[in-house]
Amino acid sequence: MINKKLVIIGGGSAGMASALEAYKQGVTDILILEKNDYLGGILNQCIHNGFGLHEFNEELTGPEFMSRFSKAVNDNHISYRLQSNVLGISKDKVVTYSNSYEGLVEVKAEAIILTTGCYERNAGAIQIAGDRPSGVYTAGQAQLYLNCYGYLVGKKVFILGSGDIGLIMARRMTLEGAKVLGVAELNPYSAGLNRNIVQCLQDFNIPLYLSHTVKEVKGKEGHLEKVVIAKVDEKFAFIPGTEVEFDVDTLLLSVGLIPNCDLLNNLPLSFSKTRGPVVSQDMETEIEGLFSAGNVLHVHDLVDYVVEEAREAANGAVKYLNGKLSHKGHIYDVKPGNGIGYVVPQKIYLEDANDKLVFKFRVAHPFKDINIFIKEGDNVVKKLFKPAIIPSEMEIVRVDKALFKGEAKEISVYVEERK
């Protein structure tokens, strides 16, 4: 068993950003564990631009963005292990990992930050109906084949789901010479960022079928031949007679991302609506000293926000390591109220919190002309007007800690349409 002050699981943008922040704040005994044979995680395959507008005030590609972080990790001699897969985390913060060059290693960590990202909902998870041919991929999987291995998985493509990766892949595959026949979205609104709808679909005349989903995939000979889409009603039931059939060799799925937090399954933790662990204002889970940030907590729109959250977690971990997280004083449960899909954090230790309380949340569906309320018990602490708000854009609201009285048990975040 070896000892480390801070072990970071996952060497993607969240992992590297939290390592660098902890390092900056004086914690140098850090170990990053990364399963791939490179740092940077999923950004390596995101070769399109649009990363770093908040962080660097410029538009970078994924590899450019992440290489700034990996360079800093290397320059500061922060230690990391590649091709090292974490097999387990124990309640007393022993991290067990495996690789081919060290074997099975147990590390006793004083603090841990879990930054393992997310995975894509796939054909199995959405219980897609029809045959089981080849040619059905998650958008990110096709992106990996295309951008990192140099292979195009097909030439006649339909895309289910208007998540950002799907939209990016619609453009990417078109540029590689594939024909993208359309994108179907179950909801009556897009799941992706507006800029991606414009730049990836509209600019290439790719039709977007809102309130549509795949009814059946067909391919008896082992490979995909057709997809049938149909319109759905408000309850997502198929409307008979609205079926449209497309001859395709590829169906890409961009139907959501799920926090990849299997490692927490056997720990005494609760999970939030995001399917990530419940965390406090310092991104600390219900196990003291175990922190979490980035897409493993909730899925972010922008890597810039991931980096920001990773720094919050690192800041929390440093506070913990310096004995500055008391877990005493007034505790709030933070609850999503009317119109809110989820909110992070789910717990606030008022005494430990920094000067600003940060609430990140998404609405459950689009709204226009609303007020966002943050309420402590029956007392409105903050009211914010928004002309329009959509689920694909995460909201971040910062509120002065001084405005909270530390009396009620609950803080709720909700929206109300203006009368």
Binding site: K35, Q83, N85, L87, T96, S98, N99, S100, Y101, E102, G103, L104, E106, Y119, E120, N122, A123, G124, A125, Q127, I128, A129, G130, D131, R132, P133, S134, G135, Y137, T138, G140, Q141, L144, Y145, L146, C148, Y149, G150, Y151, L152, V153, G154, K155, E176, G177, E216, K220, E221, G222, H223, D249, I258, N260, D262, N265
Partner: protein, 479 residues
């Protein structure tokens, strides 16, 4: 060359028969149209080793199921296959089912299966997540769960290790008797054999009809399933069955040998033997029936749905024995449920009762019943695992993140005598790609490993059948 025995079909029956025959001095060949052993019915089923209380007493199904069940512990030890005797629990949810439960207990006795009738309270104690309205249950301790993928593949590997020839990816087109031998024509070649064994699953009536008119029919009866992630233990501790009906043993809820949960199957007659599609109305009905027994099944943990076809014979019993006009053609037809549980006994029965009547069986001196052991790193202690990785670093490198499959395990499979030829074949053997991400992360790595092993470009590696290549085209830049 004239083979002594030619087996059509490398499913669980064909593979175990081949293995049994490999213990004798015989020249045996197995031919299958699929590119892997156990690729159709033996792959897509409930993975249950039934106790044998359910089949009608006196049938082959009853006899072979009970016998087969008893053979599983030793067989699975020899073949290095995960088998766990967790017991089955048939539950009565409504008052009027209590009588049926005691009828079933009587049938169990007739079939020679040990069972125990349980009160509602006893059922709830064993299964805390059972429907609280449960009225009683029938516990059959000998029922178990098995890994059907490795059972079939390892049985075939054992057969091949002991001298059996295996030809995959060849479909039998015709079978004709020419003097004393059968001439079997396939899509690739022609073979001569003294004895033909027809273990062709859903196509066994078709294969039989190649030599004589057949007075029974084998129909595909489709079953659709859900697979849930291994997110936690204890959802159910036994194989939970409803009371059997005309449609079969009904929709079950069970854990699997990989710690996942399986829910299904439906039962639908199908005209198309190749139809393995799933559909929403059927799966909704499966969900409803399962929820009646176990209300808290977390369907948000579903990682996959699939369907399998049972080769259901019109005779209502296994069709095992000589063809009418010739005792050198042996049928092993209509092996629907409880086929998996019966399969080891089917192999014994076919060889002892039929093959032995037409060929002289001389035991092979150097027959090895046990396979070279596979290493499962997750079962080792820290020290053992470190010693292993020191010896072979590939066991330290994890390829499949969800199921924690190491490169060492993958390379071991590739070194075997029935190696995986596709991504799916590797998945069946190692579970790489079987987890919640369904290969989203590890599939490219798996393709790379297969391509390197077979010394071909990644574009040649198939997901499953011919034409299912994944890395189809080079990008503009890679060209």
């Amino acid at each position: 060359m004239i083979f002594d025995v030619l087996i059509v079909g490398a499913g669980v029956s064909g593979s175990l028969i081949a293995r049994k025959l490999s213990s004798y001095d015989l020249k045996t060949i197995v031919i299958d149209k699929e590119n892997d052993a156990g690729n159709v019915t033996s792959m897509a089923n409930s993975a249950i080793v039934h106790s044998g209380y359910d089949p009608v007493p006196g049938t082959l199904k009853a006899k072979l199921n009970v016998q087969g069940n008893k053979m599983f512990p030793k067989l699975c030890e020899d073949l290095d296959v995960h088998f766990e005797q967790i017991g089955s629990l048939t539950v009565a949810i409504y008052d009027d089912q209590i009588k049926l439960l005691s009828d079933l207990a009587i049938r169990s006795k007739e079939n020679g299966v040990e069972v125990k009738l349980l009160s509602a309270e006893e059922v709830k104690k064993l299964e805390p997540n059972i429907n609280p309205n449960v009225k009683g249950g029938l516990l059959a301790p000998s029922a178990g769960i098995v890994n059907p993928f490795t059972l079939t593949v390892h049985a075939m590997e054992s057969a091949v290790d002991n001298g059996v020839t295996l030809h995959l990816g060849e479909e039998v087109l015709s079978i004709k008797k020419d003097g004393d031998v059968y001439v079997v024509k396939t899509t690739k070649d022609e073979y001569q054999a003294k004895v033909v064994i027809n273990a062709a699953g859903v196509y066994s009536d078709k294969i039989h009809s190649m030599i004589e008119p057949v007075d029974y029919k084998v129909t595909a009866r489709k079953g659709e399933y859900f697979v849930l992630d291994h997110y936690k233990e204890g959802l159910v501790n036994h194989v939970i069955f409803p009371l059997p009906s005309e449609k079969g043993k009904g929709i079950l809820v069970s854990k699997t040998t990989s710690g996942n949960y399986i829910v299904g199957p439906s039962s639908e007659w199908s005209d198309d033997k190749e139809d393995l599609s799933t559909d929403k109305p059927t799966l909704d009905a499966v969900r409803k029936a399962a929820t009646e027994m176990v209300p808290s099944i977390p369907f948000n943990q579903v990682i996959r749905t699939f369907s399998g076809n049972r080769p259901t014979p019109s005779t209502h019993d296994f069709v095992i024995g000589f063809a009418k006009k010739d005792n050198h053609f042996i049928n092993v037809s209509g092996i629907e449920s409880p086929g998996l549980a019966s399969s080891p006994a089917i192999a014994e029965y076919v060889v002892n009762e039929f093959v032995s009547k037409v060929l002289s069986l001389k035991e092979k001196k150097d027959y090895k019943p046990a396979l070279r052991k596979r290493i499962n790193p997750s079962k080792l202690s820290v020290n053992e695992r470190n010693a292993l990785i020191k010896k072979d670093p590939d066991y330290g490198e994890i390829i499949c993140n969800c199921e924690k499959v190491t490169l060492g395990e993958i390379k071991d499979e590739l070194s075997r005598s029935v190696p995986p030829m596709s991504v799916k074949a590797l998945k069946k053997r190692t579970r790489a790609g079987f987890g919640k991400c369904q290969g989203g992360f590890c599939q490219p790595l798996v393709i790379k490993i297969l391509a390197e092993h077979f010394n071909v470009d990644m574009s040649k590696i198939k997901l499953d059948k011919d034409g299912s290549e994944i890395c189809k085209y080079l990008t503009k830049e890679a060209k």
